[in-house]
Amino acid sequence: MMPYLLLSSLLFSAGLAAALLRRNAILVLVGIELMLNAANLNFVVFWKFGPNPESMAPALFVLFSIAIAAAEAGVGLALILALHKHFKSTNVDDMNLLKG
Amino acid sequence: MSSSNLQLEAPLDPAFKVERRTATGRGDLLEVSMGPQHPSTHGVFRMDVVLDGERVTKLKPVFGYLHRNHEKIAENTTYLGSMPYTDRLDYFCSLTNNWAYALTVEKLAGLQPPERAEYIRVITAEFTRLQNHVCLIGFLLQDMGASGTPLMYAFREREAILDLFESLTGARMMCNYMRFGGCRVDLPSGWLDQASKVVDRFPRFLDEFDRLISGNEILAARTQGVGVLPRELAVSASVTGPVLRASGVNYDIRKVDKYGIYDRFSFRVPLGDHGDVYDRYMVRVLEMHESLAILKSALRDIPPGPIMDPKAKLRSFKPKAGEAYGRIESAKGELGFYVISDGSANPYRYRVRPPSLINLTVLEDMCVGHTVADAVIILGSIDIVLGEVDR
């Protein structure tokens, strides 16, 4: 199970790096998605290698997580669109006003 | 043309202002140059459209790619020499073009075609109108993406009419048939029977077309309420033909001028109330029914006799100095020729009033606010032929 866990760690750190380093809001969102996927992978891995593989709980967790991620992506991207309309940019550094 | 020719149900609103629909100026605009090589611009025509998403916010028609200097060439050839060139104006309707030009020069030279020639002219002109409308409807549906079926049915019928033209004039499209003071050749034997057969068979096609497409939900959805041309705008932009009549203005030169012998036939002029693409489509369908009625009585009543005015001459034809404007109701609208003669063998000034070009001027007003797909069918519903637009 070690390779899987390393892979998910890599995914998570890559996502984190994108969220921290990239200035484009879309890429920040991409990073978040990567981190979510890393977590999902962990769920599945621990289900497969864990003590009770007959339980369906991890699968359902992942399922819910995927669904929520879809919702999150939808809302996030809509937000980016709205912000872009306002600031004419998707660079997070440009969005430095609290007032729209 | 005096405005009293226009028969309006109600007076035009004097306060009418051309109100341009505008699309929202939001979002990224996409400039697309549709044409000159584009499948649905009916030739080498270009529309510079500015799109907001799929909506047209601005449309600039660009034409002139097919400019062949028709008017200046005509001023440098003999009167007869420009007759074949008129074939090439609106290459679907060479016979009506011939007629309009012949009518003008006859006015200029004071020639009077004999009765049989007038009948032949009416018959050929109405056949021309039939085949033009048939093709137009086919093209319009092709622009709507009907993968060729209506177009092929339309061409099937057109074929029969073109066969008639060929056996009469020797050519299917570039007929070059009419002459100043009459027609070039008399009807060959059996032609009238053949023509009657085509006329009798034509309603079958109209019914078939009606069943195929007129009730189709997609057609209705695509055309109703699309590309509305208000009555006032149509009149003030001097739009003519079926496009004008679809906007509800009763103006048909066959009725107004009664040129030729049109006063002998009783026919009706269909009028639309909405001025949208569907009305333009339906007005043409109904016009075909009326044309068939004219054809029936003309084919029945055509008298024997000469086909040329004895005063007419072919070579060294020099009308006396003067000017004349002759116009007819071609399939696309008012086709007019304006000719000034200085007494020489060539016209001094020669000018065509092409209905396609003038109807095209309202394209932007009809298209703005609609989608690209609509712009394509609106262009199709105007019925332009680039040979006539660019001359």
């Binding site: - | 074949p84 570039m174 069943r211 009730g215 189709n216």
Partner: protein, 246 residues
């Protein structure tokens, strides 16, 4: 209800689908190279020059009057007059074209040259398969290729050709009659005048040169074989009756 129009339309296409197998008049397509629609009698493609008899040089009706060249709207005809004259069908001495070119890539098949020609010398062909490998020189058609016999003209436009032949025959008859009368008058005048003085001038001016004799059998055979009996009558009767008068 939604969909009824669509179903009606589909019924119509189905009817056409079946109909295209059953009804002849639905399928207008002709499979061209194997199957050809017979050319309509009035059909026209590009002009050609008519000659009488079987010698294209001698029998050519064209007299290089250049009217067609002048009247041709796209100006696709080029004519160069020959300096030598040759007798035409009535025996009058006429010019003949040294060069007669038609650029069929320019020609628009309008038939105006045919209409304006006073000599019935240029007619419209029906042959439309003119593809060449050279689109400049190849489509510039010269006199030798343009000249086609009257029999060909009769074959492609029988009605037209009959009328033309009748016209020409009438004209010729008139010319013959006139020539005979002239000759008679001349003879009378000559006999009345001094016998020795005008003697050398007489044969050249008065005696019409023999008509193109080889033309006659061909004309006869062509007219009797291709056109109907009525045509043959008019053709042979009117053309030949006075032909051997001199």
């Amino acid at each position: 209800m939604l969909g009824t129009g669509l179903i009606k339309g589909m019924a119509e296409t189905a009817r056409n689908f079946v109909g295209s197998f059953l009804e002849e008049d639905r399928l207008t397509t002709v499979e061209y190279p194997e199957e050809r629609i017979p050319a309509k009698e009035a059909a026209r493609s590009f002009p050609f020059l008519v000659f009488d008899g079987d010698d294209a040089e001698k029998g050519l009706r064209c007299v290089a009057c250049q009217i067609c060249e002048k009247e041709c709207p796209p100006q696709c005809i080029f004519i160069l007059k020959d300096t030598a004259k040759k007798p035409d069908f009535v025996g009058k001495m006429q010019f003949q074209p040294k060069v007669f070119d038609i650029d069929v890539s320019v020609c628009m098949s309008c038939q105006i040259c045919v209409e304006v020609c006073p000599f019935e010398a240029i007619k419209m062909d029906v042959d439309f398969e003119l593809s060449r490998f050279d689109r400049f020189e190849g489509l510039l058609i010269h006199k030798d290729e343009l000249s086609k016999p009257n029999s060909y003209f009769r074959k492609i436009h029988p009605t037209d050709a009959a009328a033309v032949d009748a016209n020409l025959a009438a004209e010729k008859a008139k010319a013959e009659a006139k020539a005979v009368a002239d000759a008679a008058a001349k003879a009378k005048a000559a006999s009345a005048a001094a016998a020795g003085l005008a003697a050398p001038a007489k044969p050249a001016a008065a005696a019409p040169p023999p008509p193109p004799t080889p033309a006659d059998p061909i004309l006869k055979s062509a007219s009797s074989s291709t056109a109907g009996p009525g045509l043959a009558e008019t053709g042979s009767g009117k053309t030949h009756a006075p032909a051997h008068g001199s």
